[in-house]
Symmetry: C2
Subunit: 406 residues, 2 copies
């Protein structure tokens, strides 16, 4: 094996066959593992167009003859937004739209890695506890790959999100209890049957899949790395993966700097930020979470230690924004760039708006983690009105005048 | 100009500055125009990855220094599905997933062309009458491109679809009347203010944008063209564009055959099929349309003549499928390929299922025209059940047994 696993808390190094998911000494909360590589084999050319995230196979903890999920994951577009950058006082602004993935979120990168890993291990059922993007992503990619998926959701999960899982043929267990109870039950049952675990943070390999988002951006920018990278933060794995992607590229000598990473949380769910600001990262400040940005409405972040360490290492920090700021950010981002993001996706832009003066003159990349079609309803109260008219020209013109369109 | 406009009904040829949208002799219903080129300049290499549909600029009726919409339109994935092909008795099956476009539908190709054309003409407002993909596509791409969009919808249009338009900043006029009244009002008002028209079929250039879907597929298949191409049909422009894309490539000498094109309609909205089967294409068989596949629930198809002529030319035909077949097709396609399509998108697959015996031994390409996230609700009654359990292991195992997961 070209890689080992290191506990983010105690630093102990394990062979990949020695431990399953987390450090047995430090436990599943603090003892999440990181994948460390001995070296990266040289690559001539990265074939993003045909391989998507698998263009970065040499940086991934799977066999070179790995199973590739037969959907194009990654190779999502990056947009340079010069005019918007000027408006905000930045030297440049890049928007990486990961809502263009097969199931419309960043999580597809992690699910693809999980499936490849399960196939490598000869396991044909994968499970997770999730109501959101991790679940839809796992069920969609599993369907394409011919593996079974079992999803544990709290019974309160919205109908539309569950429908999507069922369409893909997932077995959905609705647990009459909290998310945490669904999570614990999934781990118990998954363990008993020897299924593969796609629970965020618990499984160290998921982050390796996610890091390809940062790697792709770096490649698309011809290795010219922006000063600052911003992304929304719930559990803490995506923000960690952004660091890891740049960090592994730097180790391989392909880029010379890691951007300052700024994680943006919802005010009602800013446990990672609170822990970070405490300065002691292994005493997580859990809380009751409330936010319209459901993908990041996490009160007990499961990768908090890693997220804090990595972000600190990059010279960055965490900030938080209100639901109102998030709602307005969805609308403004859509109007100024054409990228319609789900609330968690637009949170990074809300954060940028909030601290733009601090970032004056810098170049910034925003990672947009999910498509707005996933959650149309929550944005309703932030949009302008519809003009109702009878089918006649004069009424239409009156309405257009009121709308400022003529 | 390297192109002219020809009336699909009378065959009269116009210079592009002589007519606006349709043939003045044959009227807007039958006299839709087709864009015919004198020749196609030679292209060394098609840069799909960076340019998306604009890789085919030489085949498009826009200036070479055209304005490109600053979102990546096109470069959507194509999947080879050998196992599913075998199951269906085909020699091969390709699935082109155009739900991966910026606003998640095939219509983005037409909207991008419309915006480029409007910019070329110096027009800064574009309008359309639509409740669906054409509207969301126009509003999203307009936002990115800094042009204004005005959308006319019937007042009955669903809230969620209108929200998306408002997020992008479109001016939305809800007409207290039918779709046809909204359409007529849009034409009147648009004409009065000199706005650019993005109404399907009326504007001959839209089809040219759409044809890039077929061209892309051909390129991705290294110019090896499948025997049969299948796509859903409402107004008739998409199916026409598939023919036009292959046909223009054949004229340019890049491919040697045009696939047999089979248009699939919903049974409750199969006016194009009825007209086609009549054998007289200029006496459209309009009807009251009813189908769960709202994007193709068209009773008065506005490009019927062209669609019939082109499909006949290809040696193909039209078929229709029930809403039940469409619903089951969404689920089966998602489970077998991981591609979650909206009802209209899955209609092509429903058609393939219906006539698979006729197509035995042939290679088939399916064009999937929109993402399932656009219409989650309509698929609800076709999925299996959720298993509700208390948070304990024994109940969970009982449920998993009932689900057949263990």
């Amino acid at each position: 094996m070209n890689y080992k696993l290191r506990c983010i808390h105690c630093g102990k190094i394990y062979e990949s066959n020695e431990v399953k998911y987390t450090c047995p000494v430090c436990g599943s909360r603090l003892g999440t593992l990181e994948v460390v590589y001995n070296n990266f084999s040289h690559v001539e050319k990265f074939d993003l167009e045909h391989k998507g995230m698998w263009a970065f196979s040499r940086f991934l903890p799977v066999d070179l003859n790995h199973f590739e999920v037969p959907l194009l994951v990654g190779n999502t577009p990056i947009y340079e937004k010069r005019r918007l950058a000027r408006e905000l006082g930045l030297s440049n602004l890049y928007v990486k739209d990961d809502g263009r993935n097969p199931t419309a979120s960043y999580k597809d990168r992690a699910s693809a890695l999980a499936i490849a890993k399960a196939k490598e291990l000869g396991i044909s059922t994968i499970y997770c506890a999730s109501t959101g993007n991790a679940a839809s992503s796992l069920s969609g990619l599993s369907a394409a790959s011919g593996v079974k998926s079992v999803i544990f959701v709290p019974r309160s999960a919205p109908d539309a999100k569950i429908t999507q899982l069922l369409v893909y043929g997932a077995t959905v267990i609705a647990v009459d209890g909290s998310y945490d109870e669904a999570f614990d039950l999934s781990m118990e049952v998954g363990e008993e049957f020897g299924w593969y675990c796609r629970n965020s943070a618990v499984n160290p390999y998921l982050l390796e899949g996610k890091k390809t988002g940062a790697m792709e951006a770096a490649l698309q920018l011809n290795w010219r790395i922006p000063d600052v990278a911003m992304v929304s933060v719930g559990d803490g794995t995506v923000v960690s993966s952004i660091y890891k992607g740049f960090s592994d590229l730097k180790k391989a000598g392909l880029i010379s700097k890691i951007p300052m990473i700024i994680g943006v949380q919802a005010e009602g769910a800013n446990a990672v930020m609170r822990t970070f600001e405490l300065g002691i990262f292994d005493e997580p400040r859990d809380m009751e979470a409330h936010s319209m940005a459901d993908s990041i409405a996490v009160g007990k972040p499961r990768d908090v230690l890693k997220a804090c360490k990595y972000v600190k290492e990059s010279g960055g920090k965490f900030i938080s924004v209100s639901d109102d700021e998030i709602g307005r950010a969805i609308v403004e981002l859509a109007r100024k760039t054409g990228v319609f993001a789900e609330p968690a996706g637009a949170t990074a832009y809300a954060g940028l708006k909030k601290i733009k003066d601090e970032l004056k003159g810098k170049s910034v990349i925003l990672f947009i983690t999910g498509n707005g079609l996933k959650d149309i309803n929550s944005v309703k109260r932030f949009v302008t009105q519809v003009y109702v008219v009878k089918p006649n020209r004069e009424e239409a013109k009156e309405a257009l005048r009121n709308a400022g369109a003529i």
